[in-house]
Amino acid sequence: MGAKTSLFLLALLAVILGFARSDFSVSSHHKLHIDFWNGWTGPDGRVALEMIRQFNQENPDVEVSMQRMEWGTYYNKLMVAEVDGRGPAVFVIHASTLPRMEQAGFLADVRDMFEGPRALPTSDFDDYVLNQVKYDQTYVGVPLDIHPQGLYCNADMLKQAGFVDANGNARAPENKEEFVRAIKSMQKLDASGHPDTWGFALTLWRNNFQALIPQFDGRYMDESGNADLDCKGNVEALEFLSSLEKQHLVPPPENGLGWVGYRQKKVAMVWDGVYMLGDLKRLEDMPYIGAPIPVLGHHAGTMADSHVLCIQKTMSPERRDAAERFIRFLSEHSIQWAGAGQVPARKSVRNSAEFAKMPVQYAFSKQIPTMMYPPRTHILFELSLEIDLAVEKVMRGRATPDEALKVANKNCQTFIDRDRRERQAKP
């Protein structure tokens, strides 16, 4: 076959494919189209799709279509699309990343969703959560859920280690003494003395550490917004994790290792978000239970965040109405969403009998009164990286908690200063 014939055939193929592609586009002209973006790439996304199908059926004049991509990519893409004015009508943002989006001016004022006859009752939300979406006395989004970090245990291993309640069911450790005893009794060594099964492993280690910050009365920033990562509470919290490392009770931090190990039954206990439940449900022979993070500091506490539903700023009144209907629908049907591995933001839903039947979600939700969100800051990405580095260094035994947090604090202060200089100084 000559070069020219091949090129001609390729050209023909390209043209045919071009036509073939266009056949797939289905457009419905008579409906209000609402595009809905989020980062729910796991099983949670499938539940969301089911809810959208239901909404589309109940609202024949609207067609919601969902797009999901991994969170990191999602935020990049959302930002770039918004800058170009081609962002989605409705989108999901973590409460902790709101400051960035708010500053960029991408978020519509949704005060009308909390006021007026069809309003979502503000009394049905926790003040702490509602404050996350409040800017200058108005609201920029509707919190859909609360996802606290909690304790996942392998029930069989707990039973073998003697952690059972009166009914003979597995019981999660609740305090420091029980937690450390559980780790030790569930760790198994192989012939060479290397742990073959671990009692506990870190998952996303910065979140694991952040879960302990409220327990030790730690904080991220002081009253004037300066970094305070090396405060006494934070150092104590990290010292607890460090003590586990010194006793060889936890493997060195490695990406994805903790959760994968837990799924493989090579790790007995991990701390992770309630959203990981969906992953466990897919495993057929995984005996798991969920519980609050044990009290390892002065009192109970954990880290949490929320998925917040936001609306694009510039929209026709009809589309805006459809978008609000959709958000209201999601909020009112959040018991379905809870099934995906979430704790609903609505108190009434959490108090329902149906929710009480979701053991892990219910157990995790008990932590709501003591939970702490990541700080409201423009430098969240930099701050998270610094915390990650500090925890990593300590858990590899390469720095003391005090040293590691001092470095993190110094770097964060630099970023805060730069942020003030660059972003907040308006001409």
Partner: protein, 291 residues
Amino acid sequence: MTYTRKRGMDAWLFMTPYTLSFAAFILVPVLVSLTLAFMQFDLTSRNSIQFVGTRNFSDALKDDYFWQALKATLFFVVLMVPCMITTGLAMAFGMNAMTRGRNTVRALLFLPGMLNVAVASILWGWFYNGEFGLFNYLLKGWGFAPKPWLSDRSWAMPSAVGMNLWWAVGGTSVVLLAALQQIPRSIFEAAVLDGAGNSALLNRISLPLLRPVMLFVVVTNTIAGFQVFGPTFLLTRGGPELSTRALVQYIYETAFNNYRLGYGAAMSWLLFAVVATFALVQYRFLKRSVA
């Protein structure tokens, strides 16, 4: 005279499609990013966009993370390029001496390069996993201690280089093999008649004659090495303790996670300066030793 001028016009007629594309999608973006490098340009606070002169460049030179990323990148290049060349060369000699099946082997060695880097990293991420990965499972089975492939600062980069080698060495070895096969047999035969031994054949004939190709291979691998992003990012996310965070990853994070486009552009130009210097020095050096 008219003949040449007409030829020149024809020539530029032929050049037009590519030149237009080059101007629109390379030249203009380069100019835009050059402008960005001198600006404070944050997509999330557009009213703070302004010219800042050379501040981005001086900030970069004072930025510990910039130096650390540059060091990680250099480490990758210094580790990867020699490994790539020696392995590629050894494989080329190995294939050259084969009695049969050379084409099959050549194809199989080349095949991994067809894979998407994301796919390659998913696979190798599992191989390297410390507690539950394939390699440590095999090591334990053979009675060796497990290795911290990705979780130790001195292991992670070599591990990333290892994956990159599997992924990309095929191309290098194929080029070298082709060059090897082009050396006329008569040269070797004459040398053998003169009583040259195996090592003399290698040092005096094969390697010197391969030099021009080596130049090509070294320079292209070096450029690719400085621009490394996929293998390290997907395998380790830059860890442990940022020891594998290459400069391109830092630039990407600066521009797309922190939205500091101006600073990202300035660091990109610094990277470009480093790459261009390296490529130029290698080119001069190897060129001279060819002559």
